[in-house]
């Protein structure tokens, strides 16, 4: 049906086309940055609506936990054990990302911004604290972005 010459030319074209297609399959970084900003908003909403479980649902199973005053631990279960003792449902945490960026491979990204904590302390006194945060996100096998590191500083109290 085809001559050998045509077969060879087709084979060459196929190899070139598939190589180009394979190499060019780069992540859409603008889309990934937007996905991180959406994850930030969903994360905030999950915490507001579901408390501790909502908060934990945005962390990767292998997240680090770097809370002030505690040793660094690895894994979401260690984070859960710490937070179950400390969680105060009378506090509202909100945050505003200033930027999101991702690696060229689209598997690692980070966000940072400002946070505000308001509500009542365990003893009933009013709380209003602010600061900045840095969050490192890792894309999971299911395509979702989850937090592997989340750390915040605190602005000094206004005097």
């Amino acid at each position: 049906m085809f001559s050998k010459r045509i077969m060879k030319t087709l084979l060459l074209l196929f190899v070139v086309a598939s190589s180009v297609a394979f190499c060019a399959a780069k992540p859409d970084l603008e889309r990934e940055r937007a996905a991180l900003l959406k994850a930030e908003a969903d994360f905030e909403k999950a915490r507001a609506e579901k408390g501790l479980e909502g908060w934990l649902s945005f962390f990767a199973d292998d997240t680090a936990d770097v809370a002030p005053g505690y040793p660094i631990t690895s894994g979401k279960e260690a984070m859960r054990r710490r937070l179950e003792k400390q969680w105060n449902p009378n506090l509202k945490l909100t945050w505003t990302p200033a930027k999101a960026d991702v690696a060229a491979s689209g598997d690692l990204g980070y966000t940072f911004g400002t946070w505000e904590l308001t509500g009542q302390s365990q003893d009933g006194s009013p709380i209003r604290e602010t600061g900045k945060y840095s969050t490192v996100w890792k894309k999971q096998r299911d395509g979702s972005w989850k937090v592997v590191l989340d750390l915040g500083n605190s602005d000094p109290e206004k005097k």
Copy 2:
């Protein structure tokens, strides 16, 4: 010299070989993790030996600055202006990374660990503070890793 058939076969082989070589040129992630840990040690040494200039030399030109009590700014020059007013040469900052990891593309990575600040405050009183930090690193065009985001929390004072 060569028949057309041999030329075509060679061309096909060349296309396949170069496609495989190009696609397989993946970063050596173990090496990049080790490079980040080395950058951490060099960063600490530069600060100890050269003060503010040593500190700044490890930040990317487009670094964010997320210091407590200040607005978020973008760029090393804004960071420099803030630090020139605040720098206390009588403080020693040391840190110990707990982990370094990088994206599959080898262009973005992060480290975290613990820090310790010792020395004397501006009014001469002794200081010893500890906390944790999170640093995001971006590989620069010259192949070096530089900091684009560096944020630390503070352990509560021991009472």
